[in-house]
Amino acid sequence: MSGYETVIGLEVHAQLKTESKIFCGCSTRFGARPNTQVCPVCLGLPGVLPVLNERAVRFAVMAGLAVGSAIEGRSVFARKNYFYPDLPKGYQISQYDRPLCSGGGVDIQVDGVWKRIGLVRIHLEEDAGKSIHPEGREGVTTTLVDLNRSGVPLIEIVSEPEIRSGAEAYDYLIRLKQTLMYLDVCDGNMEEGSLRCDANVSVRPLGQVEFGTKTEVKNMNSFRNVERAIAFETERQIRLLESGGRVVQETLLWNADKNQAEPMRSKEEAHDYRYFPEPDLLPLDLTTAWIESVRSNLPELPHQVRARLERELEIPAYDAEVLTETRALARYYEETARRAGNGKLASNWIMTEVNGIRNKQGQSIEEFPIRPDRLGALVKMIAEERISGKIGKQVFELMLTQPEGPEELVNAKGLLPIDDESSLRALAREVIAANPGPVAEVKAGKERTFAFLVGQAMKQSRGRAHPEKIQDALRKELAAS
């Protein structure tokens, strides 16, 4: 909408992929029967105390280092106090004025232009349980509480209000998720709630320096919904301002079915969280040596893999972007390319053939039946012009359902190219003998019919005839006939 600028800040909650919860030994596995992965600590029973899970700290620090945050030598846990049935202690252990990580940024790309979205902070906290509202009799509300999720470690990643559109927000989320998944600290599953996002949205007239009044939109369960909710809220706020109204600071819930953001009941948002330092935990002190050891063990990050593949395997930036979507795909590509000895050709095959089939079947790269050793061998045969791309395609189709490598398949199915003079001449003679009519036309000077004869030769050889050499052979045999 012209005349206005949207200002967006995102708060992303990512569940860390630890085996056990942040303050007790209970499993974090998703999908268990309700209230079976609980103990006195994560149930918040009287008298229990939290004990910090070191791996959760390590994972949070890895995330911070990956996005260029400063890791604080001392951070402090704080209690965020509010009443809710799925919050068993009546407070959430989080971090407040001394978070684990400060600053950093995520590089995003929209319409081919790169832009850095700054980060305010990343802090460590515990997840709450889950309230379930089953359909009940008319007028009777039942709420069930599942505390399996209570105490699952989370990081909250807070961006600066530097995002300007839904599209930017979408790319920010994609790249943030990609980074977390490369680090293997979060499984990135939005449906299961392991990645969640709230958006702070405001608008202001272009050129105005002060921010407009913001609203917070919650409850978006996919990145596309975040994009849609931002678009909705932007439009709503502008329309409100244009009609002489004012934006009220409030929390909205995204209703994906109705495609609209609806205000939360005011009672639910009137919170004064009364943060104060958590007396049951000591301040978290990290030594520089420990932080550096985490840094030196960081895996390669998406932008690093992209740059390296562009450089080492000589592929365009666009290809590198597509092939590094996940760490597994990047590994798959890299191994294929190295075996093929041709980066660009391997890239083409994966981006079109492999991804084409995966998209159709909804397959992950790990599930794809042709592993890099076989695909690499196939691409190598094509690269060395031992078979044509067309034959390659046939071999590829066979490999989808058969375990053999490309060499075996080519030999067994008689797919080796026909490119020796005598075989080609024999093939040409067969085609000429079988097509007296077209042969007569060609001899009468109708050049277009020659292409028909070539096609017949290719068909008869099931594509194996060398496309240029068969033309030579046909000419020679025509002249001789």
Binding site: L45, P46, G47, P85, K89, K267, F276
Partner: protein
């Protein structure tokens, strides 16, 4: 020795005779059960007793001894537990209606330790609701009475634990001390009460009141018994991140080394006003006695200690307001009926499930942490706390221990202060500073008033130096003419 005499014995001698096979743990348990049967109801010392469980526990100890297991010096010694210590399958109410009928699914760290040591569970003692109070009148069930004068309070909040030891119903007990809740009732009941250094005893399974101040501590009738019980519960626990490896058992032989060469500081400025003359006289008597035993007495300053009560009544309620948020009627304990929505259910549950003092402190704490007030109240209080801590470390650089009264007055009467919370809070003026500093502090029986009421003196020491406090106490104990007096209600077979 006649069975009636057994309760007069020390825990140390009971443990020794059980270990040597001279007596069975079951015999000992029966003796104390019989004592408690006679006085516990009148004194209101217990919220929960279970003779069958006590005898079963004692029987188990006998079996272990017969099997040749080497148990601790506390083998077969009954120990009563304040009702804010979680005991698996045994009611744990914290003296509150909101936890009526609550059965914890686990044992507190100290309960596990005592079980391992062979101590015998004697029951759950009465206390001020959630340990908030100085008289045990805030128990939602009934008040506890002072064994020396049943018209008077036993102190609080661990009043039941103090009174049960004073009345010889149990040789030992555990309480919890946040601002004086072990030391003040110990003083009022004429027994020893130790608040260990913050971090010396795991709080795992102690129902939290104010987490940065709470410590579990022993009650006993002698310095050596106090050390024995402390030794059985101290030390690091991986389930409590604030527990510390520096906490080490006290060597009993060290308690006999006397006080020659020790420097004992008295903060005269703090004791200047509002202190009962008999309490002051007792302070001087103890100081002179220690001096005659070779200690040197000096003045020390605790300039910020006079802000202790204000500081404490911001920090402790703030933490309490958060710690008590879990009692919301959703998962366990009391839930108000007939609420039409969630907010109403919360309000009715907490409004009727908590007593007045608990509600008062939740409100105070909520206010102190509220947006706009946090800096002026909670943050300011935390800064003063740092100054008080510094006062103690400076004073304890000059002196090996600080000596001051545990309370400004002897025990007051039931009903005397219960409607005047400020007067009640002021009673803790001498115990709160050491709590804020996290320092170990021991209340020592220090004679009686002319009216026959106990007086307690307090020793405060360096972090994890409980040993020195107990050593000074032991030296005084040997010279204290009232050391072995028992209250009339407990004296003789039929008091």
């Amino acid at each position: 020795m006649k069975p009636e005499e057994a309760p007069r014995e020390t825990a140390e001698s009971i443990g020794r005779s059980v270990q040597s096979g001279e007596r069975s743990a079951v015999e000992v348990a029966k003796t104390f059960l019989a004592r408690a049967d006679r006085t516990a109801a009148r004194l209101g010392t217990y919220l929960h007793r279970d003779a069958a469980r006590t005898l079963a526990a004692a029987g188990e100890v006998d079996t272990r001894i017969l099997a040749g297991e080497k148990l601790s010096p506390l083998a077969g010694v009954p120990v009563a537990l304040k009702d804010n210590l979680c005991t698996r399958g045994i009611p744990t109410t914290c003296g509150s209606r909101i936890l009526e009928g609550y059965l914890p699914p686990y044992d507190a760290h100290v309960v596990e330790r005592l079980h391992r040591a062979g101590a015998v569970f004697a029951g759950k003692t009465n206390c001020d609701e959630f340990a908030m109070g100085s008289s045990t009148e805030n128990s939602a069930y009934f008040p506890t009475r002072n064994p020396w004068d049943p018209e008077r309070v036993p102190g609080g909040s661990s009043g039941g634990s103090a009174a049960t030891v004073a009345a010889l119903e149990a040789p030992l007990s555990l309480g919890s001390d946040t601002g004086g809740s072990v030391r003040q009732p110990a003083a009022f009941c004429g027994v020893y009460g130790l608040k260990p250094t913050y971090g010396a005893v795991s709080r795992y399974g102690l129902v939290a009141f104010a987490s940065s101040l709470d410590q579990i501590g022993p009650f006993a009738r002698t310095a050596r018994d106090t050390a024995l019980l402390y030794n059985a519960i101290c030390g690091p626990d991986e389930r409590d991140s604030t527990s510390r490896a520096e906490a080490k058992p006290v060597g009993l032989e060290d308690l006999e080394r006397g006080v020659r060469g020790l420097k004992i500081g008295i903060p005269r400025d703090l004791i200047a006003e509002g202190v009962d003359p008999e309490v002051l006289a007792s302070l001087d008597r103890v100081a002179r006695t220690l001096e005659s035993e070779g200690a040197s007495i000096l003045d020390v300053a605790l300039p910020h200690a006079r802000y202790s009560i204000a500081t404490y009544y911001l920090i402790a309620p703030a933490e309490a307001s958060s710690n008590l948020a879990r009692y919301d009627g959703v998962r366990y304990g009391f839930r108000a009926k007939n609420a039409s929505n969630l907010q109403e259910m919360y309000a009715a549950t907490r409004g009727t499930g908590f007593g007045r003092e608990v509600r008062r402190r939740i409100l105070l704490g909520t206010y102190a942490l509220s947006a706009g007030y946090y800096d002026a109240y909670y943050l300011r209080a935390m800064k003063v706390r740092t100054l008080i801590r510094k006062d103690f470390s400076e004073a304890l650089a000059q002196a090996d221990a600080i000596l001051l009264p545990t309370t400004p007055t002897p025990p007051f009467k039931l009903g005397e202060k219960v409607d005047d919370p400020l007067a009640m809070y002021l009673n803790d003026i001498f115990s709160i500073p050491a709590s804020l500093a996290g320092a170990p502090a021991l209340s020592v029986p220090a004679g009686m008033t002319r009216a026959g009421l106990p007086i307690g003196m307090q020793l405060v020491g360096r972090p994890f130096d409980e040993g020195t406090l107990l050593r000074i106490a032991r030296t005084w104990e040997k010279r204290n003419e009232d050391a072995l007096r028992v209250p009339p209600i407990a004296a003789g077979g039929r008091a």
